[in-house]
């Protein structure tokens, strides 16, 4: 049974000569449905770039995949190498098959549109729902992420909601089409501790409900134990450690410098 | 400043707009353009060329000057001086009517001239009529002017639109200037200043049938735009001031250009009361140093004719025998040396931007010509009204000017060269000979003698040369092939439009 996602020998570079200034040097990992992989590393270790390479968002940031494969099993069972796929195909996969949430909820939602509108947009895009049905679905999505009184909140604009609330909206949007894989790029870093715990609990609950694969990127080793089935530690663009969480070697591999 | 009643003027505008009386309405409407718009509607007060051109179509003076500059009938059919020249009698045209149908009465003539003479009105041409002591109207067809002394030029002064005959009723109501009611060939339907005038035919005009149904005049300040409008048949007829634009008209097959020599003269006025130019020899040196034909060729592309002080054909003499009309640099340098200015002096010249359009070019050519005899000239270009303000105060060393010409030498120059002339301080010069010649010219009734007097005047003034007379330009009218029958007039008057027809 092929994995949901298997990344092998991934190389990613930036700027005019991506090969010369390469940031990710030969990363490889696999993920099965319902499984959570935590990617840990200090900032600048290439973990976010790896995450962004999976759904090729790195191309928009001036980056380029220079080597390796990213095999992803679609809902239809077909396997596709995302690294080589043309942008047209990728656009169809993003949102429908692969969802993503980011670190800064405050700036990750369009300030000019109401949140209801932004959620409904995914439904319209991938399920062809019309205005009224899409709004109905948006309300369900918000309730699914435990946002009270969802109907009234539809008309709110991002600046009218708290960070935690916004992150829930992000999750609702990302999961609106029941993607098979969710990439979470440090979703809780910008939130204070109490809200952090709620979001983590929410993520693990949702993961259990839908057999969804989760790639969880963080620099906070403490979080990994609670949520991750597998861990990969990255440093300077390379994977220095992979395996079950809580293996003592794991801790040694975090360079001392990062603690201070 | 009471609120002038302009209701019917506004309603006329609304009617014209609603009718869409804009061009090309009926084929017989003449679409015309000029660059400077009239600045007012009161014929007694207005002096700007553009205002006179408009008012000459609406109002009529007692007599008119035809294209050969002879006096022709207008409101009056006949006129004669008495033996002793102390009275001037006019016989009015029986069927002369105002555009509202009322007959032109002798009382209207009397009221009009009383308005001109009354200082309250501020009529600009008042100085020309000071010899009128009283006006009698023995019957309803004759008007007799009793004069304090013989005044031959009075007749020509009466031919100017500044002596237009207004309805007495309108004068009492004080409505001159906001309403127009004249006895001329056209009626002013509407006037949007700086934008457009609409004229229609005055059926009651005593001068016979008018060739067109009406005239739409557009004001296009930029003359290149006028040329473009002519080429695209947006207008059929146009007045052009700038010779540089006028010479481009013939390049289009269907456009024809009409050049008409005018009386207005281009002149370099000197200030003979201050500095080096108090020396007569220095002024003569300047006259000899300036190559008039070269200035004409450079600044106006040769569009004009070198002239002496008198520009009207009747009195104009061949300028070549006047002092230094053939440029003579050696003589100029010699004169400068004799006057003790062999290494020259510096002075400034004022000129108005764009009025005439060639002023800047003329000033620069004169500057380079005078540099050859050591005169370091600094040019001061200024906005027209600032220039006029300084010109009226005589506050200049030199001035590039385009002054108005008249059909009679006396009315043309009495303001500058007579002892009590209003603008003597602007002329910056005066001597007894000029004054006496002027007075003799005024009273002399025999045309031959008058010619001799003014020829001598013209000889003497160029010798003394307080001013350097340069050349006269042309007034240009351009028309496309649809327009026929226009006869230009040296006074620049557009009265000829009354005889024009607009074909298909």
């Amino acid at each position: 049974m092929s994995h949901l996602l298997s990344v092998s020998d991934l190389h990613v570079g930036f700027g005019k000569d991506p090969v010369a200034n390469e940031v990710v040097h030969g990363i490889g990992f696999t993920l099965d449905p319902g499984e959570t992989l935590a990617i840990v590393g200090e900032s600048g270790s290439g973990k976010s770039v790896t995450a962004l390479s999976v759904n090729r968002l790195v191309d928009f940031g001036g980056g380029k995949i220079t080597g390796g494969r990213i095999d992803f099993t679609l809902g239809s069972g077909a396997v596709i190498d995302l690294a080589a796929a043309p942008e047209k195909e990728l656009a169809a996969i993003r949102g429908r098959e692969i969802g993503m949430i980011f670190q800064e909820p405050m700036t990750s939602l369009n300030p000019v549109h109401a949140i209801g509108e932004q959620i409904a947009e995914s439904f319209r895009l991938h399920h062809g729902l019309t205005g009224k049905q899409a709004m109905r679905a948006a309300i369900d999505a918000l309730e699914r992420v435990r946002i009270p009184d969802a109907a009234r909140r539809l008309k709110y604009h991002p600046h009218q909601l708290s960070g935690g609330m916004l992150q829930r909206v992000m999750i609702a949007t990302a999961l609106s089409c029941n993607p098979r894989l969710l990439i979470a790029d440090e979703p809780t870093t910008a939130l204070d501790v109490t809200v952090q715990a709620q979001i983590l609990a929410l993520l693990s609950e949702l993961k259990r409900e839908s057999e969804m694969g989760l790639v969880f990127i963080t620099h906070d080793i403490g979080l990994v134990a609670g949520i991750a089935d597998k861990v990969m530690v990255m440093q300077n663009g390379k994977a220095v450690e992979q395996g079950r969480p809580m293996r003592c070697s794991m801790i040694r591999s975090i360079p001392i410098r990062s603690i201070f | 400043m009471g609120r002038p009643r302009f209701k019917n003027l506004v309603s006329a505008v609304a009617v014209a707009a609603a009718l869409g009386a804009a061009f090309p309405a009926t084929a017989a409407t003449l679409n015309m353009a000029w660059s400077q718009d009239a600045t007012g509607l009161d014929p007694h007060k207005q002096t700007a060329f553009s205002s006179l051109r408009l008012l000459e179509l609406v109002y009529e003076p007692l007599v008119r000057t035809d294209s050969d500059l002879n006096i022709a009938p207008a409101v009056a059919t006949s006129w004669e001086f008495s033996e002793d020249g102390q009275t001037l009698t006019f016989k009015l045209d029986a069927d002369a009517k105002f555009s509202n149908g009322n007959k032109v009465m002798t009382s209207d003539v009397k009221a009009s001239f009383e308005r001109i003479l009354n200082e309250e009105t501020g009529a600009s041409a008042r100085a020309n009529f000071l010899s009128i002591e009283s006006i009698d109207t023995p019957d309803d067809e004759t008007v007799v002017f009793n004069l304090s002394q013989p005044d031959v030029p009075l007749l020509t002064a009466m031919s100017s639109i500044n002596a237009a005959i207004l309805p007495a009723g309108l004068i009492e109501a004080g409505m001159i200037g906001t309403e127009t009611l004249g006895s001329g060939p056209f009626v002013l339907d509407s006037w949007e200043p700086n934008s457009r005038e609409v004229l229609s035919v005055n059926e009651n005009w005593a001068g016979g049938a008018v060739g067109v149904d009406g005239i739409n005049i557009s004001v296009l300040p930029d003359e290149t735009a006028i040329l473009a409008a002519l080429r695209t048949d947006q207008v059929d007829f146009a007045l052009i001031n700038d010779p540089l634009v006028a010479t481009l008209v013939p390049s289009n097959p269907n456009l024809s250009l009409n050049r008409e020599p005018v009386l207005n003269y281009h002149v370099l006025q000197l200030n003979a009361e201050e500095g080096a130019m108090t020396e007569e020899k220095v002024r003569q040196a300047i006259s000899c140093a300036i190559d008039r034909q070269d200035v004409l060729d450079a600044a106006l592309l040769g569009e004009g004719k070198v002239t002496g002080p008198l520009t009207m054909p009747a009195y104009a003499s061949d300028p070549s025998d006047l002092l230094c009309y053939a440029p003579d640099l050696e003589k100029a340098k010699a004169l400068m040396a004799e006057a003790g200015y062999e290494d020259g002096f510096s002075a400034s010249v004022i000129a108005a931007t764009g009025e005439p359009p060639t002023a800047a070019a003329e000033a620069q050519v004169i500057q380079s010509q005078l540099a050859e005899i050591g005169i370091d000239l600094e040019i001061e270009m200024m906005e027209l009204n600032v220039y006029i303000d300084r010109w009226l105060k005589g506050d200049f060393d030199m001035a590039v000017a385009l002054n108005g010409g008249r059909t009679d030498p006396y009315t043309m120059y009495n303001r500058y060269w007579t002892k009590d002339g209003n603008l003597a301080h602007v002329a910056h010069y005066g001597d007894d000979m000029l004054d006496s010649l002027m007075q003799q010219g005024r009273v002399e009734t025999d045309p031959e003698k008058r010619k001799e007097i003014f020829a001598e005047f013209s000889k003497h003034i160029t010798d003394v040369s307080p001013w350097i007379w340069l050349y006269t330009g042309y007034s240009y009218t351009a028309a496309n092939d649809k327009v026929s029958g226009f006869e230009a007039n040296p006074t620049g008057s557009l009265f000829g439009l009354s005889a024009v027809t607009v074909g298909e």
């Binding site: - | 930029d222 290149t224 540089l244 634009v245 481009l248 060729d297 450079a298 800047a360 050519v365 270009m381």
Partner: protein, 279 residues
């Protein structure tokens, strides 16, 4: 001179920089007199000649060499633009800083005065100054400066207000530095970036206004030459002598293009916020 190197590294900076440098050289040559012919000399027999070997850009109505006049024209337009923008910058800095630093009362009056100036249509304000004082180079400089000062005042006051509250200014105060020292040393240095950008854009705008004023007959006075005056003189000769219009028009266009490109480059180089953004 790292600034120069980074300017020439920047794509539009390279083009803009070379154009402005070229213009400066031409202007200096014009002023010094290194022109093919004497710009004021009227060869009236060669009037309105098309561009030829002797007259590279042809001759004008009075037979003067257009190429030489163009060189002193560029010099004149540069002088008017630089002087007016410099004056406007100085006025802007003084007014902007006083408004920002002293606040409330000063701020109110100065900004209201600026509103009044800004309320005027630009050409009209220049026209009034020029008609009162009389046309000429220095009056055009004053007129353009007068119109541009409010903009500079705002450009200075904005950042100055925010800088005033920043820590390093308080820190400087704790060191006991005097007010003028703080104003000049700290504030100004931080304003250099927005100011330089505004200056280059203002130069482009000043060139345009000078041309507009000359078109209305209120700019530089004959026989002197400025790009705007040459354009307005060529207006009626457009058909007979197109070269009279084409060369000055291109000169102005490329000149302003140079300033704008330089301004863009400087904004990207100096403005920290957008340092990362793609140029």
């Amino acid at each position: 001179m790292t600034l120069l190197r980074s300017i020439f590294a920047h794509p539009s900076g390279r083009i803009g920089g070379t154009i402005v440098a070229l213009y400066l050289i031409i202007a200096i040559m014009g002023l010094v007199g290194l022109t093919p012919h004497d710009p004021l000399m009227q060869f009236r027999i060669d009037r309105l000649h098309a561009p030829s070997a002797t007259y590279w850009m042809g001759t004008d109505l009075l037979g003067r060499d257009v190429a030489s006049r163009l060189m002193i024209g560029i010099a004149q337009s540069f002088i008017v633009s630089f002087a007016s923008v410099a004056l406007a910058t100085v006025l802007g800095i003084v007014l902007g800083l006083t408004a920002a630093w002293f606040g409330s009362y000063w701020d109110g009056t100065i900004m209201r005065a600026m509103d009044v100036l800004l309320a005027f249509p630009a050409i009209l304000l220049a026209l009034l100054i020029i008609t009162i004082v009389g046309p000429g180079t220095w009056t055009s400089v004053m007129a353009i400066a007068f119109v541009y000062t409010p903009i500079f005042t705002r450009v200075v006051r904005g950042p100055a207000l925010s800088l005033k509250t920043r820590e390093f200014v308080d820190a400087a105060r704790t060191f006991g530095s005097s007010r003028t020292y703080i104003l000049s040393r700290h504030m100004l240095l931080n304003l250099v970036a927005p100011l330089t950008v505004q200056v280059t854009l203002a130069l482009a705008w000043a060139l345009l206004t000078e041309a507009g004023l000359s078109f209305l007959g209120l700019g530089t006075q004959p026989p002197q030459a400025s790009l705007g005056l040459m354009l307005s003189e060529a207006r009626n000769l457009m058909e007979m002598a197109p070269w009279l219009l084409v060369f000055p028009a291109f000169a102005i266009m490329i000149g302003i293009l140079g300033f704008n490109l330089l301004g863009d480059a400087l904004r990207d180089i100096l403005d920290p916020r957008s340092r990362g953004a793609v140029a």
